[in-house]
Symmetry: C2
Subunit: 149 residues, 2 copies
């Protein structure tokens, strides 16, 4: 019976995703240590790199910190040269946080080397399989982003 096998497959995805996340959190802690910041600060840098820029309030959301907390995070990241506070032309109360090169490049380098390992792991899949993998991530990321909003 194929539906039995299918149910097993789906359950296995669940377990492996949790394992993947536990490993990812561990990896994130390691990266933070390597570049000399804490995990919270790194989560902000990650969001910044993926989105290009963000307001303090958005970053507070992603890091689940109070706005007072994020101010201190940004003070640290600004002082360390990772980010810059630009005025927000749409709202004079607000600021736009942007990555600053080259401090940011340190982070890119670490992820690039990790991406190489990932590329190697992907080499055994054909294009159609790769498309399935991409599709899975895009779908779940989109669903996750909606849930958060």
């Amino acid at each position: 019976m194929s539906s039995r096998k299918r149910a097993e497959l789906i359950q296995t995805v669940g377990t492996e995703v949790r394992r993947f996340l536990a490993g990812g959190i561990f990896f994130n802690l390691k990266v933070a240590e390597d570049i000399g910041i804490n995990a919270t600060d790194l989560q902000c840098l990650n969001v910044l790199e993926l989105q290009g820029s963000a307001t303090p309030t958005e970053l507070a959301g992603w890091s689940r910190l109070t706005t007072g907390g994020i101010t201190v995070v940004l003070d640290r990241l600004e002082k360390a040269g990772f980010i810059r506070r630009d005025p927000n032309p749409k709202d004079r109360r607000s600021t736009i946080i942007r990555p600053v090169m080259p401090a940011f490049a340190k982070l890119e380098t670490i992820y690039r080397s990790k991406a190489e390992g990932l590329a190697k792991a992907l080499s055994c899949y054909n294009n159609s399989e790769l498309e399935t993998i991409v599709d899975f991530f895009v779908k779940t990321n989109t669903a996750g982003a909606e849930e958060k909003g």
Copy 2:
């Protein structure tokens, strides 16, 4: 030219994986808040659930804490009823940390509901595609575990 498309696909996997991890870290913070513990303590519970049991030193590794730090984490988790310290029959200096039901069930419930969402997202794939997805996670998880050891 297919190799161009392939390179793009591989790069997209990289970006989407980072997005997935940023979302996963966010989700983890939310779960921690929901059950009333901090992110570090939850990372320990996650490892415990995936492995069944662990020693304090192993958990210190996964959470990148000092052994002194993990003692305090375990004190908190023990007090809150999530874990229990059993003697380690192989080494009398050591202890084995085990999940305790039903406090642990709170966590299971949250992940079960998340797993339902995941199952829904997976419903559009056929068995062969699911196998590709499982294979990808198993491969990268295994590679990650080796790197850590």
